[in-house]
């Protein structure tokens, strides 16, 4: 049994560039499973992800992560001449290549088309497949996903949600997103509002309830 991944945001962790964008009001402890990161535009979702990925220093305070980390920036892109199949072949472990190509087929990603010719949604599918099949089997994993759903069709989104469901024991996913339907279930959410980072944990909570807090 691999150790469970964990992220601990200590009280008074301040994120931002020159000035603090948001600060944690208390300790936040995230375990394995999917956690949604919700905030209005420009409130610090990407900044928090970049801080946790250690590509940006916190302005104050500290945090701890336990697990193999992968941060997928929203704007990551590969060379236009590369086809998704070539990207997967170059970056994925050999034993994961087959399942990755199967998933690509099931969500209608043409793995032989050049990356430069793919639509935004299909590029997003390529990037998501890459990180999902790069998970390490014998240890806890942390995936920081910045707006992974933007441009993704409902069918592909559902396929990834199934994948997440099946691998939630040793993977912690912190997913920044702007949900597009009110009934979307969000049992665990990190909210950034009024420059405060807080954590809401309720199995019955949905986007409908959470968005009123953001407004």
């Amino acid at each position: 049994m691999p150790p469970s991944p964990e992220i601990i945001l200590n009280r008074e962790l301040a994120i931002g560039y020159k000035h603090p964008l948001a600060v944690t009001a208390g300790d936040i402890r995230l375990g394995s499973g999917t956690h949604f990161l919700l905030a209005r535009n420009g409130r610090g979702k990407t900044t928090l992800l970049r801080t946790l990925a250690r590509t940006l220093r916190p302005l104050a305070g500290s945090f701890q992560t336990c697990g193999a980390l992968q941060y997928l920036p929203e704007d990551v892109r590969f060379d236009d001449e590369m086809a998704p199949a070539t990207i997967f072949r170059a970056l994925l472990p050999r034993q994961r290549l087959g399942p990755a190509l199967e998933l690509a087929k099931s969500i209608e990603l043409d793995v032989h088309k050049n990356y430069g010719q793919l639509s935004t949604g299909n590029r997003r599918k390529t990037n998501l497949i890459l990180v999902e099949f790069s998970l390490r089997e014998n240890q806890g994993n942390i995936l920081l996903l910045d707006e992974p759903f933007s441009g993704l069709d409902a069918h592909a989104r559902a396929a990834f949600e199934v994948l997440w469901e099946n691998s939630q024991d040793n993977v912690l996913r912190l997913v920044s997103c702007h949900p597009d339907y009110d009934s979307m279930n969000m049992p665990s959410a990190v909210l950034i509002q009024n420059s405060a980072i807080s954590f809401l944990d309720d199995p019955s909570q949905t986007w409908s309830g959470l968005k009123t807090q953001l407004n």
């Binding site: 980390l69 992968q70 941060y71 060379d79 086809a83 070539t86 170059a90």
Partner: protein, 255 residues
């Protein structure tokens, strides 16, 4: 070695290397037929040597440095460097893997040039022929040793300042080391100038890696002592440029 595989695969997919391979194979046989060697058959083999190694230098300096610079810029600008950094791949490792991904294309290019010389321009005399093998072997080693750090520098500069800067700075540095240093030496032979002398001393003497005239005039292999000296000299440049490249390298864009 994920980034190495990605770099090598990206370069392979772009297919520009095919032009270099074609030029390296065709030019040594095509160019001599367009030159005065056509009228003097005895000149065909030296002309082939010139064409083979000349094409290699052009391919390495233009295709090699440009490709390296493009990889460095892409990695930093398009978020890949950021991604690999968060997976635990340090900047040093990213630089090394990208460098290796470009360098492995330069090795076959160099071997093609040497093979063309060995098969298509080898002297008839048996004793000269063994020397020919040795001379070409020495050229391969010195050439790769001279070019390797330039590729790393092109990647690093491009990751920080963009592909145009990465490519042009290393290209100018190479051309200066190949030809400019000679002009500087001529100036210094006319009059002494301590400042220019210091510049000359600190300059990368890439003309020492240009062994084509040795093959052209059949001057034979470099004596062992001098060859070791050259290897040490270019090895020292490699270390210095590797350090400089690491200092310059950024895995993410400044923007």
């Amino acid at each position: 070695m994920r980034l190495f595989r990605l770099t090598a695969a990206t370069i392979f997919r772009r297919k520009a290397w095919v032009i270099c391979v074609f030029a390296l194979l065709a030019m040594p046989f095509l160019l001599p037929t367009l030159s005065s060697a056509q009228e003097k058959p005895v000149l065909i083999q030296p002309a082939r040597v010139l064409a083979a190694w000349g094409t290699l230098w052009v391919s390495a300096l233009f295709w090699g440095l440009f490709t390296a610079a493009r990889q460095g810029e892409t990695n930093a600008r398009f978020g890949l460097g950021d991604y690999f950094l968060t997976t635990g791949m340090s900047g040093t490792r990213q630089l090394f893997e990208m460098w290796l991904g470009v360098f492995i294309y330069l090795i076959p290019f160099t071997l093609i040039a040497a093979t063309v010389c060995l098969l298509g321009a080898s002297p008839a005399d048996a004793s000269e022929r063994s020397m020919w093998w040795l001379s070409n072997g020495q050229y391969v080693i010195i050439f790769l040793l001279a070019l390797a750090p330039l590729l790393a520098l092109a990647i690093a500069l491009a990751s920080r300042f963009g592909a145009v800067a990465g490519f042009s700075v290393t290209l100018v540095l190479s051309v200066y080391g190949l030809y400019g240093v000679g002009y500087l030496e001529n100036m210094l032979s006319q009059e002494t100038n301590p400042l220019l002398e210091a510049v000359w001393l600190a300059s990368p003497h890439y003309h020492l890696a240009e062994l084509t005239p040795r093959l052209y005039y059949k001057l034979g292999a470099i004596p062992a002592g001098s060859f070791v000296g050259l290897v040490v000299y270019f090895g020292a440049i490699l270390l210095a440029y590797a350090g400089l490249a690491r200092l310059c390298f950024r895995s993410k864009s400044l923007a």
